[in-house]
Chain length 237, copies 2
Amino acid sequence: MPRTDASTPRILACDVFGTVVDWHGSVMREIAARAPAIDAAAFARAWRAGYQPAMARVRAGELGWTRIDVLNRMILDTLLPEFGLAAMDEASRAELNRVWQRLAPWPDAVAGLARLRSRFMLCTLSNGNIGLLAEMAKHAGLPWDCILSAETFGRYKPDPRTYRGVAEIFDVEPGQVMLVAAHQDDLDAARDCGLQTAYIERPAEFGADAPKPVVGDAANTLHARDLTDLADRLGCP
Amino acid sequence: MPRTDASTPRILACDVFGTVVDWHGSVMREIAARAPAIDAAAFARAWRAGYQPAMARVRAGELGWTRIDVLNRMILDTLLPEFGLAAMDEASRAELNRVWQRLAPWPDAVAGLARLRSRFMLCTLSNGNIGLLAEMAKHAGLPWDCILSAETFGRYKPDPRTYRGVAEIFDVEPGQVMLVAAHQDDLDAARDCGLQTAYIERPAEFGADAPKPVVGDAANTLHARDLTDLADRLGCP
């Protein structure tokens, strides 16, 4: 691994949902194909909105360690009746739940990650479970060197043991790891653990009709428009 | 993932040291380059021979969870004086210990794995730690979909939780996972957990001067000469 100076990271740890893949557009398209009558964008946002509270139940110990695949399915089962889809059968629910393994990468993601991988150890650090992330990578062609997950550490982000855990896995100092994410709260928690941080703008994360502010905090090590821009800023060929 | 019939596995979980990479030849070459006067083949075998007893100390609870990188270094520090190399300095020891991240693949491995990956979810299941396996894959170009390790499960093979853990990670039945290994004891333990098994012949695992019997047990699901032969037997293009 080339190391140009002390401040160059060795390991890039990437958040995935929203940062690398477009969960909103992908879920919306699959819902719209199955249930043309409902508000697919609202369904996608509601499904995703259930995610933080579900993980909070795990963090609080109310639920034992539970994979995102299972949490997503619990949320889905709650949502379907609210959207008039209570009649959906078991096989269709299981199939729909796997949409999270089929999320489409943002247009810059595959090329950007391939360039980043040419200079850095490129891994995920996602709350998505290992199997989900591996199926997604295979489906979308995401060129990870290594899939690390909350499941690897038995804790969900923003638990410090996830961020520090990446450094421990690779036997490096926390400052040699850079978290790459489109969410400032994730980056803040990583910085508190000594990691470098790269903010990625994803204004359409919640849909083109619901643009997200993408200012990013001045304390981030880098601010990039997308993953190809990050590759430029990190000097990747 | 294509599935031709009920008995076709979905997941191939590969042992790594000896099965995919030639630890004996790689360690021997690095030792010979550093210390031309010693018996490099004997050094390589002695280093590897320390591995099972070291893991046994972890399994017995005598040591807490300890990564192979650390166990290898403990063994190295014991071996060096025995081979007249007690004077080796700290930086050289650390550098030599990383030889396990630089092990060369067997000549068939990269091409064989790439073919296997075209039809199966291809992961490691090694006692090597995650960081070691990721560095090795990057160095040698091993095309894993996912790196799973004893470290993922906090237990060393042959603990049943490692074999069953692969099935749990991918939410499949144990019979949909095939362990690929050059060691019958590893395959036996996997079969006891319901996994399919593929024996890979590696007669030169301990050196060309110390050929290993490669008969394999008739109970194995498949017996293959090497990883390209396994790709043939599994119908991979």
